[in-house]
Every structure is written in C-alpha cells, then in structure tokens.
Amino acid sequence: MFKFLKRFRKKSPWILHYNTGSCNGCDIEIYACLAPKYDIERFGMLNKGNPKQADILLVTGPVTKRARARLLRIYMQMPEPKVVVAVGACACTGGVFRHMYNVENGVDRYIPVDVYIPGCAARPENIIAGIEKAIEIWEQKSRDRLELPKVCTKTLDGKQPIDRRQIVEELVGKYTEKLNPEELL
C-alpha cells in the first residue's frame, strides 16, 4: 500500500522556506524559482508556509543564535518523511560569517541536512538541481525513520504556564545527542 503511495512523492514536493538570518540573496533566488522564468510549480512544487504540510525544508543563512531555536522547532513540526536542503554558502558552512560571535556556522550543527547547495547566492538552476537530488533522497526515506521526541508527557491543566524555552532546550539536547556532537565540532 505504502509502496504504491511512495510513487507520488516525486510529483508533489511541497517546500517550506526558512531564513536563519541570511542576507536575503538566496531568498531572492528561491523566489526567482517560483516566478514565471523558472516556474518550479510545473514539477508540482508549492511554497507552503506551513511546516505541518511541507516535505522539503529549504534553509538559507548561517544559523544565528536567535534563529536556532526556531529552526529546531520548525524542523520538529514537520511530519516524516522530510528532507532538509541547505541553500547557499552560509547555510552549508557559515560562509563569510563563519566564526563570528553570533553565528553557529551552518545548519548541520543542529539538524540533519540531506543536500548542500553551494553558491553565494545559490543560482536558481542549482536550487532546482538540489531539490531534484533531495527528492531522490526523500523517496528512500520511510515515514517512521526518526522517532520524534514526545514533549507533552504529562497532561496540561491550563493553570501552569508552559515554559517554551525549556521545552526547546530539552529538544536541542535530544537532537544534538542524536547527531553525535563530537563529530561536528
């Protein structure tokens, strides 16, 4: 049954675009892909602003310290199967902002990245080729590959306020454990 459904993945990849503090160069190129000249809607791609319905996460920019919690939250909100594409030099390695005090040197320190697209800014042709590669990887994934951490284990009665920062910190810990931080540092 799922094998039959898997065939339709490559025909409708819905993308979600998140900017983790980039200079907007790569964002403009992503929007150029959606515009009439490159028109990626002909492959069935839609720019969904909603992580719960998206399949491919396009991340631009070096991860700034302010953006990393949001990046993780967005990644967590996307249902499996999903792929992550790092667009541009900053998202891959930190680019010209590498080793600055407010920058985390690339997306893969926090979430697993499947495809890296080089360039400053990445060209639309490169982005389309990268998404094509991402779809190939996406087709191999199954929907139960990664076990999502369950945050709400106790029932919330609505009286005590939820500390979102604490929840995100807990999740950051869980994901960096999974990624084996010694290798990345």
Binding site: R7, F8, S12, E41, G44, G49, N50, K52, Q53, P79
Partner: protein
C-alpha cells in the same frame, strides 16, 4: 436525469479535483508559466496519504472530517435532494464545523482564520440564499429537476442575481481579492494550519467539493438550456481565475461592506422586482 445527477454527486470529489487542477493550469498560463499537470491535485492527495499525521487533539481532526462530509452532503442535497434551501443550510453547517475546529486549537493563526471564516459566512451566505430564492421565483420550484426543465432560463429573469453571484464567487471559493480567511503567507492558511497528513487531506478535498457546489448553482441559471448553463460555468471559471491573478488581498471590512452594502441590495432588488411585478 435523476440517475445522472446521483452519479455526479457521488463522483463530485473526483470532478472537483479535476476542476481545481484545471484552475491551477489556467492561472499559470495566464501568468505565462507552464503550470502543474491537470492531475496535480490527485498526486498531492496520494502524497499526503503517505505523510505521518500529527494531531493536535481528536476533536480538531474530527471537525476536519466533518467539514468534508457535510460539504459532500451539501453537494448531494443540491443535486438529488428535494430542496435547494437545505443544500445552502448544509453548506453553512460545513463551514461552521471547520470554524469550530479552527477555534478549538491554541494557534493564533487558526483562531484568526476561524474568525475571518465567520465574516466569509456573513458576507456570502445571504447572497447564496437570494440566488436560490431567485431560482425558485424564475422556475416555480425548489427542486433541481424542475429547475433543469424550466423553459425560459432563470438567467433572463434574474440577470442581476447572476451578476451578483459572479462577484460573490471569490468570497465563496476564497480567491484573491477575498482570500482573507486562508491568506497564504499572511496567516498561513488560517484554520487549515494545524491539519496534517490524512486529516489535511479531508480539508483539501472538501475545498474541491466547494467548487462543484458553487459551479452547479451557476449551472442552474441556464435552466433547460444546458449549453447556456455550461457557458455560464465557463465564464464564471475564467472570471474567477482572472480576478484571482490580477488583484491583491483586501481587508475583512472591505469584503463585508462590499457584500452587504452593494451586492445584497442589488440581488434583493432583482428578487423583489420579480416577486412583485414579474408576472
């Protein structure tokens, strides 16, 4: 005739999907793009079935499914049911289901979308009621079969009502100047934001049913002249795509003022004129 309508009502989700695919293609061609294939909505449908569903709580997902079922019931009672008014009320019921679902989660976008959906109901449904009353006055019956056999087409007696309905279509189908309740990239889909996987599929398919519902009411204005009815549907389809491509989003106040201040009096004028002096 009756069996044909029954088959149409059963196949309504499939047909609606094709209409949605055609609309995406036509909109893309208007912008000088290639556009997705016509069967694209069905590819999306199968892909969404493979995604892992994330539920907020069961009531929210249930309301999504209830929206789909009520929308299908509305199409059923429009095509085979005894009374057109019942179809309109079922349509309102479907929208109220999704509004309740939107209010039931904590996401502010969802709540805001549900609030705006209420304004959509306020703006569009009175006009739908007037359209149905206009069809009754022109053909003398609430039944679809009788309307489809009425000899001078209802369009001739109700030109203003038809024009008003044409201008209401963007409100009903949530198309661009009045795509306020789902406003992509502004409130990210409104009430549909917390649905995912197969539960989003229910909402996604229910929107295809809206197309069938609305375009079938347009078709009824052709009366016994089915070619005229199809022409009207084609006109409405192209009109909605053109308006969607060439306008930007207005606010909720513009929509309610335009609908209740301009469109509703025009429709009421036509209906009362025919009711008082039409014979």
């Amino acid at each position: 005739m009756k069996t044909l309508l029954l088959v149409l009502a059963i196949l309504a989700p499939l047909l609606g999907g094709v209409i949605y695919g055609l609309e995406r293609k036509v909109k893309a061609r208007m912008q000088n793009r290639m556009g997705p294939p016509i069967l694209q909505p069905f590819y999306d449908f199968f892909k969404l079935a493979d995604k892992r569903p994330l539920q907020v709580h069961s009531f929210h997902s249930l309301m999504g499914i209830a929206f789909f079922l009520a929308a299908w019931f509305a199409v059923f009672s429009l095509m085979v049911g005894p009374n057109l008014l019942v179809a309109i009320f079922l349509h309102v019921l479907a929208l109220l289901f999704i509004t309740a679902g939107g209010f039931s989660v904590k996401s502010p976008y969802s709540v805001m979308g549900a609030l705006r959906e209420l304004a959509h109901i306020l703006a569009a449904e009175p006009i739908l009621v007037f359209a149905v009353v206009g069809l009754y006055l022109a053909s003398g019956s609430w039944n679809v079969i009788d309307i489809l056999h009425s000899e001078p087409p209802p369009l001739l007696k109700m030109p203003l009502v038809f024009a008003v309905l044409l201008l209401t279509l963007p409100i009903l189908l949530k198309k661009s100047p009045f795509d306020i309740s789902e406003a992509h990239q502004e409130i990210i889909g409104g009430w549909e934001i917390e649905f995912s996987g197969i539960y989003y599929e229910a909402v996604y398919t229910a929107k295809w049913l809206e197309y069938i519902f609305v375009y079938f009411i347009i078709f009824l204005f052709g009366g016994a002249n089915y070619l005229l009815g199809l022409g009207l549907v084609l006109l409405a389809f192209l009109f909605v795509a053109l308006i969607d491509n060439s306008t930007t989003r207005l606010t909720i106040h513009h929509m309610v003022k335009f609908s209740l201040g301009v469109l509703l009096p025009l429709a009421a004028f036509n209906v009362f004129w025919v009711a008082l002096w039409g014979h």
